[in-house]
Symmetry: C2
Subunit: 257 residues, 2 copies
């Protein structure tokens, strides 16, 4: 059965946050992403070429609300990508209970108004790599179900829970001995610090960094050394890059082996 005009309209409507919110749904495209999400989130609609179905016989599609075999031309009309892939799918947005006690016994991230969907998705992807399973986002952070953010997660969203919640309240309600980290130009060289296996790492907005209110609640101020260390420059790191370098150092200091 072909993709009707109404279905294409529905798929395109998911480009907008308000429609995703009303529908409690999101769009995913491409072999890697859709393959990773199937079995993790309920799929309402899956549209793919016959070639994709032949190459993915092993996937369990019983639970999928509706599957459609489409040709490439139909798929490209539905796709939001410049280079449409062989498959696209609409999934239910998952609902997680937000339980701040995870911060007491595992390493978590907090994102303070990350604006760029690509940065957000890249951070979720690297959180997955570094075994960080809970990411707390300020309400002003980009929407993880934005198609660009979703593409950038590369499936990491299947293993990382995203919670949108005001960060000041979240941090104020933590036990006072739980470390809350942030990176600052006047922080302590992180290579000289003993980093923990639990707590919260706060990363700030692309232009403005960590907001003053959240910043005042941080009890472990870190600095990512540049090279040569201490030289005065105008340079900075992209927020996803800084997140990765910090997470890598936490995991280097306390590996799982």
């Amino acid at each position: 059965m072909a993709l009707s005009k109404n279905k294409i309209k529905y798929i395109h409507s998911l480009e907008l946050k308000k429609n995703r919110k009303t529908e409690k749904a999101f769009l995913a495209e491409g072999h890697k992403l859709v393959g990773d999400l199937l079995g993790h989130f309920h799929c309402r609609l899956l549209a793919a070429t016959d070639k994709w179905f032949i190459n993915n016989k092993e996937l369990q599609l019983n639970d999928v609300g509706e599957t459609l075999i489409v040709n490439e031309e139909e798929l490209s009309r539905a796709s939001l990508l410049k280079t449409p892939q062989q498959v696209l799918a609409v999934f239910d947005q998952p609902e997680y209970p937000t339980d701040p006690s995870v911060i007491g016994h595992s390493l978590c991230l907090a994102l303070d108004d990350i604006q760029d969907p690509g940065n957000l998705g890249t951070i979720i992807r690297l959180a997955d790599w570094f075994g960080i399973e809970d990411v707390f986002c300020s309400p002003q952070t980009a929407d993880i179900y934005n198609p660009k953010a979703m593409q950038a997660t590369m499936g990491g969203i299947a293993h990382v829970r995203i919670h949108y919640t005001p960060l000041p309240d979240l941090i104020r309600n933590l036990e006072t001995d739980i470390p809350v980290y942030g990176t600052f130009l006047d922080g302590e060289n992180m290579y000289g610090e003993k980093l923990s296996k639990n707590g919260l790492i706060v990363m700030g907005n692309e232009g403005n960094g960590i907001s003053p209110e959240v910043g005042s609640l941080i009890n472990r101020r870190l600095y990512i050394p540049n090279y040569p260390t201490g030289r005065e420059t105008s340079e900075s790191l992209n927020v996803a890059i800084a997140t990765a370098v910090v997470c890598a150092e936490f995991r280097r200091q306390a590996p799982s082996l």
Copy 2:
């Protein structure tokens, strides 16, 4: 003097690589980027609002070919950005002699067909942070003068020399004792390796990794540990993220202090 139609056409023409190549020029937009590039590269044309000129009186603009005060509406017609900034400028592409001997006495990067301009620009930005001054790019790597790549460098291009050159020849002509690093799933855990202060770190294409020909020339195979280490997963790291994590570890092991 206002921006003529011809000037706007000229600025827009620099979106295409062939025109940038013919003109040996590139476009830069925004306060941070243009400010960082002025004084490093010859500026042919600078168009900015009166507000920008008032706020940047300290900048030396004597050497600029042509300066134009424009209003925001004119600027937005010339701009390639979704959210135009107060300033845009056209610079000469710099010309560097390509001297592979730098690889013998400093740490350098090689990019093997990085496709995404945003990834390329982000890598140049982090190279600047980590004090890597020479980046060798395969001819198929994205063009650093692509406006998206240039924006992502955030001015890093002012301190990092980019050389487009075939990587197999470059590596074959190095002294055999110079380390050539690459990351592979079956490489050695990089935290267990003694990393050098010189040599070449090769990073591969977003989809296909390092090409077989270049891969065969790598003499130090590294692995970036995930967490928990060794778990089998489908996840991976974005190439700019992987570059950052590797560069950070090189600089941690051999800081400049």
